[in-house]
């Protein structure tokens, strides 16, 4: 029972992080119709920025209890890359999907080495934060408070995103652009600005996801390419472009991995991809996606 709860908590922690990355992927796909393979690279960059910022701040005597806001900020700093990368991708908006995919793949290759140049290939972690918040005792199970905080942060971000998309003028413009580019443009929407903003927001989400993990697990350069496929799995299961889909998909993937680890570790990722394949075959539009016309 205790093991079950601990696994569940770990699964939800993972799901929270996946949601952030997948939400970025969804935003960009929803509006620009580009599937960004480099979303994992933004995640990895966020992780390393988190390592650096965390190391510096803690070294300078910052209380570990302030690590959460600090890491959120450090991760969000990846957003600085949003506008230039979006400018680059803008060159292929009306090209074939395969070219869009390949251009983002080129970004994956480049970021992988940029990260190596900046931080080397050794695993790096922010020490002394993970357990600084203590653990909660649930029966015999102990769950680090950090995990719960990250979960809460992800839920808060999800809620904030939902409100932003549904209630604000910019959110409405964004959804209108996702619905119909040309119509939005003819109504006077500055689609260029919308694209840049959306992409930047997506980048920030990925970066925050990465930064929140480093107290719990070390950052490694390979994480960039590993995470893409998982984020991919999330959006396929949830439905391309759908925010509720990202939430559901992340929960499914996170819990599935954790559950498989408990029951039959060999099946960990296998189970995820098997679900992806099943969803693509039975409901290609995903659980929350609209079927293509």
């Amino acid at each position: 029972m205790a093991a079950l709860i601990e696994v569940l908590a770990a699964g939800l922690f993972h799901a929270a992080v996946l949601f952030l990355v997948a939400a970025g992927l969804q935003l960009v796909f929803g509006v620009q119709r580009i599937l960004n393979l480099a979303c994992g690279s933004f995640y990895a960059l966020g992780a390393y920025l988190g390592v650096t910022a965390g190391g510096l701040a803690l070294g300078a005597g910052l209380s570990p209890l302030l690590a959460l806001p600090l890491l959120v900020l450090a991760g969000a700093a990846v957003a600085a890359l949003g506008p230039p990368v979006e400018r680059l991708l803008r060159l292929v908006y009306d090209r074939d999907e395969s070219f869009q995919l390949l251009l983002t793949f080129a970004l994956v290759l480049m970021f992988q080495d940029l990260i190596r140049m900046g931080w080397g290939s050794q695993p790096q972690q922010v020490e002394g934060v993970y357990l600084a918040y203590g653990q909660v005792q649930l029966g015999a199970a102990r769950i680090p408070v950090w995990n719960l905080l990250v979960l809460a942060a992800a839920i808060a971000i999800a809620g904030g995103l939902g409100l932003f998309l549904q209630r604000t003028d910019f959110g409405r413009i964004l959804r209108a652009t996702a619905e119909n580019r040309r119509m939005a443009a003819s109504l006077g929407v500055d689609t260029g600005r919308v694209y840049a903003a959306v992409f930047t927001l997506g980048t920030a989400l990925g970066g925050i996801g990465g930064a929140l993990v480093v107290p719990a697990a070390a950052a490694v350069p390979e994480k960039a390419v590993e995470l893409v496929v998982e984020a991919f799995a999330v959006v396929v299961i949830g439905g391309l472009g759908s925010m509720p889909g990202a939430l559901a998909g992340a929960a499914i993937v996170g819990l599935l991995r954790a559950g498989a680890l408990l029951v039959w570790p060999e099946l960990e990722l296998l189970a995820v991809y098997a679900v992806v394949v099943a969803v693509l075959l039975l409901r290609p539009a995903g659980l929350f996606g609209r079927p293509a016309a």
Binding site: V92, L101, L102, L109, M110, A233, V236
Partner: protein, 332 residues
């Protein structure tokens, strides 16, 4: 034109056959993966260039071929390379039967995602089922015999840059010939027709799904045979062969050569191998440069190296026109 193509092909084969003594051991070793990749990419491009289907899971078949080579030579202790190639093709087909039956229902982004998911499914199988596949250690591929000959007197490098090199050149040439026939057959025409306009193709009697499925099978078999050819020099079949980034690299190589031309994938394999080697000699951060090259091709030269002459010609003509007409000509 046809005669020209034949002549160019013969010249290329002759040049490659004559190369080893001129290039020396190191550079000949460098050329070895070109044949394996060339074959695998011919398969990939049947789907990509001719069928309009971009697979992000082709590496799965390359890996299947490599593991088939490991099982045949290492576990079954059969040393004949001919048996290895047949087993690889069979393994590729066996894997492609279920995968292709499902993937042939989709196109575009969904085809890409589904192939990627299947590729990763296969990767995690290779990675996690330690008892069967050796997990992250992979499986050893032992040195095969060629046409029943053992070449005992040759050490490993001499074997690879000698008989193995020529054998692979011959296999690649024969398979290229086979692929040449396939793309110029009624089937190849149907494949291109469904790429351009599936609805119209159906009304002209093309069984679109069946066509895609058959192309998928052929593509997989080529991928697996290429994988087996690649695994002998490295002596290893490991799960990273099936990783999605390897699939991405395969698409990259094809694009580099030019997916719109029959010889594009072959040229792409050669160019990529040389480019990678050169970049690796320049800097440990060669991926950065490789990524930049890929971005440049996507943006500036989507037809790849094969399309370069036409691109340059067009640029030149445009410049000459501008020079000849200093005043902007009125639009028609």
């Amino acid at each position: 034109m046809r005669g020209g193509a034949l002549l160019a092909a013969l010249a290329a084969v002759a040049a490659l056959a004559a190369a080893p003594p001129l290039l020396g051991e190191y550079r000949t070793t460098l050329l070895l993966p070109v044949f394996g990749y060339g074959v695998a990419l011919l398969g990939l491009n049947l789907l990509f260039g001719y069928g309009g289907l971009v697979s992000f899971g082709h590496a799965m078949f390359v890996a299947a071929g490599a593991y088939a080579a490991a099982v045949v030579t290492g576990v079954w202790r059969i040393e004949s390379f001919e048996a290895v190639l047949l087993a690889a093709a069979a393994a590729g087909l066996a894997l492609a039967l279920p995968v292709g039956a499902l993937c042939a229902r989709y196109t575009k982004i969904f085809f890409g995602m589904l192939t990627l998911a299947f590729g990763m499914l296969f990767h995690s199988f290779l990675f996690k089922f330690y008892g069967l596949t050796g997990g992250d250690q992979g499986m050893r591929v032992r040195r095969p015999t060629l046409l029943g000959l053992e070449f005992e007197e040759l050490d490993k490098t001499a074997f690879l840059v000698g008989p193995y090199y020529w054998y692979c050149l011959a296999v690649a040439a024969l398979l290229a010939l086979l692929m040449w026939r396939i793309v110029r057959s009624p089937f190849g025409l149907a494949l291109r027709a469904q790429r351009d306009n599936p609805r119209k193709a159906e009304y002209l009697g093309v069984e679109v799904r069946r066509t895609r499925f058959v192309a998928f099978l052929v593509s997989a078999a080529f991928g697996a045979v290429g994988g087996a050819m690649l695994a002998v020099p490295t002596g290893l079949a490991d799960p990273e062969l099936a990783y999605w980034t390897h699939s991405g690299t395969l698409v990259f190589m094809t694009l580099l050569g030019g997916f719109a031309h029959f010889a594009g994938p072959l040229l792409g394999a050669l160019a990529y191998v040389l480019l990678q080697d050169w970049l690796m000699s320049l800097t440990p951060y060669w991926r950065l440069l490789l990524g930049a090259v890929l971005a440049l091709i996507v943006l500036a030269c989507p037809q790849g190296l094969m399309g370069l002459p036409a691109l340059l010609r067009a640029r030149l003509a445009a410049r000459r026109r501008r020079a000849a007409a200093p005043h902007p000509a009125p639009a028609e």
